[in-house]
C-alpha cells in the first residue's frame, strides 16, 4: 500500500530572492531519487504540493515550475507562518521533502483550441507562471488561441518572475498587461492601476471560445468578478484557484472544505459556477 503521507526526499538546489522586500523566495528542488522525480513529473499546471520540513511541518504551495521544465521543481514561497519562516532560513544543500502533486489542475483538455486570459495578482502568480510556460512551450502553443495575461503587484519590485515577464512582453504570441498599483519609477513603461481596472480596459471581451483563469488575493478576486462579467464572461468561463488551510492534502483531514467540496482534493481549481453552488468559506 502506497503511503500518501511520505514525502519524496529532495535537496534544495537553489534559492533566489523573488521580490524587493525579500518576503518571497523561489526554491529550486532536485529529487534525491530519480524514480520519485519520474512520478512527480506527471504534474499539471495548477496543482500544488506539500513542502515538508522534518521537525517543523508541512505547507501546501502551488507548483511554480512547469511540467515542460525537467529535472527540478520550483516553488515561490511567501514568508508568513512557522514553516515558511523556517524555510526562508534554510540553505542550498539542505534536505527536506515534497509530497504531491496534489489537487486538480486548470482544465487543459477543455481549454484546447480556446483563447485563454490569465489574471493574477501579487504572489498568487506561481501556478499561473507554470501555466504560461506550459502554453508557450513550442509543443503546446498551437493548441491554444490568443493568450492574454493581466498581472499586477503593488510595485514593480514586487512582481514575481520579472525577467520572464519582460521577455514575454517582447513576444508576439502572448499579450501581456503588466500593472502595478503605483510607482515612482519614471521609466516604468507598463500599466498603472489595480488588476480589476486593467482587466476591464485591456482584457478581451468574452466570446464562447474565451476562458479566464483567475488567481489572486480575495480582494482582487472580489473586484475582478464584476469586471469580467462586464466583459461578458459567464460563470462557466471563469476558472479560479482557491486556497484554504490544509494539512493532509489528500481529502481526509477535513479542514479545507467549502460545502461538500474539499479544496485540496476536489480543487483547488473550480469554475465560478461550481463555487457559486457552495458556501463561500475560503
Amino acid at each position: 500500500m502506497e503511503n500518501p503521507y511520505i514525502p519524496y526526499p529532495v535537496v534544495i538546489d537553489d534559492i533566489k530572492i523573488a521580490t524587493e522586500d525579500k518576503s518571497l523566495k523561489t526554491f529550486k528542488f532536485v529529487f534525491l531519487n530519480k524514480q520519485d522525480e519520474k512520478k512527480f513529473s506527471l504534474y499539471k499546471a495548477g496543482q500544488f504540493a506539500e513542502l515538508s520540513i522534518p521537525g517543523i511541518g508541512e505547507i501546501p504551495i502551488g507548483i511554480a515550475s512547469s511540467p515542460v521544465e525537467k529535472g527540478f521543481v520550483k516553488f515561490t514561497v511567501f514568508k508568513t507562518g512557522v514553516v515558511t519562516s523556517h524555510l526562508h532560513n534554510m540553505k542550498v544543500g539542505d534536505i527536506m521533502g515534497i509530497r504531491g502533486p496534489l489537487g486538480n489542475w486548470y482544465p487543459w483538455d477543455m481549454l484546447k483550441g480556446k483563447n485563454v486570459v490569465i489574471i493574477g495578482g501579487g504572489f498568487a502568480f506561481t501556478t499561473l507562471r507554470s501555466s504560461i510556460i506550459y502554453m508557450l512551450d513550442p509543443a503546446n502553443r498551437s493548441q491554444f488561441g490568443n493568450i492574454d495575461v493581466v498581472y499586477g503587484a503593488r510595485t514593480p519590485g514586487m512582481l514575481l518572475y520579472r525577467d520572464e515577464l519582460y521577455e514575454w512582453e517582447t513576444r508576439d504570441d502572448i499579450n501581456m498587461h503588466i500593472t502595478v498599483d503605483g510607482t515612482n519609477d519614471s521609466d516604468w513603461k507598463y500599466n498603472v492601476g489595480f488588476v480589476p481596472a486593467i482587466v476591464e480596459k485591456k482584457a478581451p471581451k468574452a466570446d464562447l471560445n474565451t476562458y479566464a483563469i483567475v488567481c489572486g488575493p480575495p480582494i482582487m478576486i472580489k473586484f475582478t468578478e464584476p469586471a469580467l462579467k462586464k466583459l461578458g464572461y459567464n460563470e462557466k468561463q471563469i476558472i479560479m484557484s482557491l486556497e484554504n488551510r490544509m494539512k493532509c492534502g489528500i481529502g481526509m483531514c477535513g479542514r479545507c472544505n467549502i460545502g461538500k467540496e474539499l479544496v485540496c482534493k476536489d480543487g483547488p481549481v473550480f469554475t465560478l459556477e461550481e463555487i457559486n453552488k457552495t458556501p463561500k468559506e475560503y
Binding site: 503521507y5 511520505i6 526526499p9 527536506m96 521533502g97 461538500k260 453552488k277
Partner: protein, 352 residues
C-alpha cells in the same frame, strides 16, 4: 446464516482462548465511565456496560498516532528523510461493540479508504480487526439509532452479532472473519437456526420499540445546500455553544485530524491528532484570515457536514449513527436531533 449458542459459563474461557491469537479490545470501567481499551490477560469485556464515554473508533484511529519518523542528525545516513513508523497490525478483535458504533466505523472507512488515496494506518488496522457486536436490548434514552440507518440489532460492519439472552449469548455469524474468531474461541455449539432467528427477531422488535426519539431525514437530500446554509436558525442554535469540542471528540463518526511534528533530541515524529471543527484554529490561515472565524459558522459547519454535505457527497445516509453521546454530553444542551429536524423541515423564505 448460522447461529451459535454460547453458554455464559463458557464465555470467559472462550475469551481466554481467543487471546492466544487475537489482541482483544473491549469496554471496561475506568473511574466513573466505560471506555474501550486493550484487554490484559486477566481482563474481560464488561458485557453489561451502557455507553462508553468515547466511541471505539480510537482502536483504529487513535486520538494521537505517530505516522512518520526521521532522524535530524546530519552525520547519519538518511537524515531528514521521513519513513513510516512501524506498527503492529496483528489480528485483533473488538468485543461488545454496539451496532451503531460499528456502523460509524463503516462511515469512517468511506473517508480513509478511497479510490484515489488509502490511509495506510486506518486500512491496515481495519483489515486486522474483527468486530464482535453486542445487540442493545435496552436502549438508553439518548439512543435514536433506529432512525439513522442502523439500530439496536443492526448488523452492518459487524462480523458477529451477539444477543444477550440472559443465560446464554446467541451469536449470529455474519462473515468468515467472524466464524474464524468463534472457531479460535472454541464457540461452536450449533442451535436450531429457525428458532434462534425467531427469538432474535422478537427481541429486536422489542428493542426498537423501546427507542423513544426519532429524527426525520427524508427531506434533507432534496434541500438546496445554500438554502440550508443561509437558514435563519443558525445563530439561535449556536448562541449557547462554547466551542468546547466535546461533541466532535465523543462522536463516533467525526474523522477530522491535525498533523504536527514533534522532536526530541534528533528523533522527529510526524504525529496526527484528532481535531475539531469547533476550534477557530482549525481553519485559520497563516495570513490571519479565517473562513470560519465566527462561532456560528463553526457550529453550522458541524451540522451541515453531518447532515447535508456528507449526504450529498456519498449518497449513503447521514453522518450520524444516533448514539446520542453528543446530546448527552454537550454542556449547553445543543441537540443534533432538534437541529436535524429543523433542517429537514426548513423552507426558504420565498418572498426574497
Amino acid at each position: 446464516m448460522k447461529v451459535i449458542k454460547i453458554n455464559k459459563k463458557d464465555w470467559e474461557n472462550g475469551i481466554n482462548q481467543s487471546k492466544k491469537e487475537y489482541q482483544l479490545f473491549g469496554p471496561v470501567k475506568e473511574k466513573d465511565n466505560y471506555i474501550f481499551k486493550k484487554l490484559q490477560l486477566d481482563e474481560y469485556p464488561d458485557m453489561e456496560h451502557k455507553d462508553t464515554l468515547v466511541s471505539p473508533k480510537s482502536i483504529l484511529f487513535p486520538q494521537t498516532e505517530k505516522i512518520l519518523q526521521t532522524n535530524l542528525d546530519e552525520s547519519i545516513d538518511d537524515h531528514h528523510i521521513m519513513k513510516q513508523v512501524k506498527k503492529d497490525y496483528s489480528k485483533r478483535a473488538v468485543i461488545s461493540i454496539k451496532p451503531y458504533d460499528a456502523k460509524a466505523i463503516q462511515i469512517l472507512n468511506l473517508n480513509f479508504d478511497t479510490d484515489e488515496y488509502k490511509d495506510p494506518y486506518w486500512c491496515e488496522a481495519y483489515k486486522a480487526t474483527t468486530f464482535i457486536g453486542l445487540a442493545v436490548n435496552n436502549p438508553s434514552v439518548f439512543d435514536f439509532s433506529s432512525s439513522t440507518n442502523t439500530g439496536p440489532f443492526a448488523e452492518q460492519g459487524l462480523d458477529v452479532l451477539l444477543i444477550d439472552c440472559s443465560k446464554e449469548y446467541l451469536a449470529k455469524v455474519l462473515t468468515d472473519k467472524g466464524q474464524a474468531f468463534l472457531d479460535v474461541a472454541g464457540f461452536n455449539q450449533e442451535t436450531d437456526n429457525k428458532k434462534a432467528i425467531e427469538i432474535i427477531n422478537n427481541m429486536k422488535k422489542k428493542a426498537e420499540n423501546a427507542i423513544s426519539s426519532q429524527i426525520s431525514t427524508q427531506n434533507l437530500k432534496d434541500k438546496n445546500t445554500l438554502d440550508l446554509y443561509e437558514a435563519p436558525f443558525w445563530d439561535d442554535i449556536a448562541f449557547s455553544c462554547i466551542n468546547c469540542g466535546t461533541c466532535s471528540f465523543v462522536c463516533p463518526t467525526c474523522w477530522c485530524f491535525d498533523i504536527q511534528d514533534e522532536t526530541k533530541g534528533n528523533l522527529s515524529y510526524r504525529i496526527r491528532n484528532w481535531d475539531t471543527c469547533m476550534s477557530p484554529l482549525f481553519t485559520l490561515h497563516a495570513s490571519g484570515h479565517n473562513p470560519r472565524g465566527e462561532k456560528t459558522m463553526r457550529v453550522r459547519q458541524r451540522f451541515m457536514h453531518k447532515l447535508k454535505y456528507f449526504l450529498d457527497k456519498y449518497d449513503n445516509g447521514i453522518m450520524c449513527v444516533g448514539c446520542g453521546r453528543c446530546v448527552k454530553l454537550c454542556p449547553v444542551n445543543i441537540d443534533i436531533r432538534k437541529v436535524c429536524n429543523l433542517m429537514n423541515s426548513h423552507e426558504p423564505d420565498t418572498d426574497n
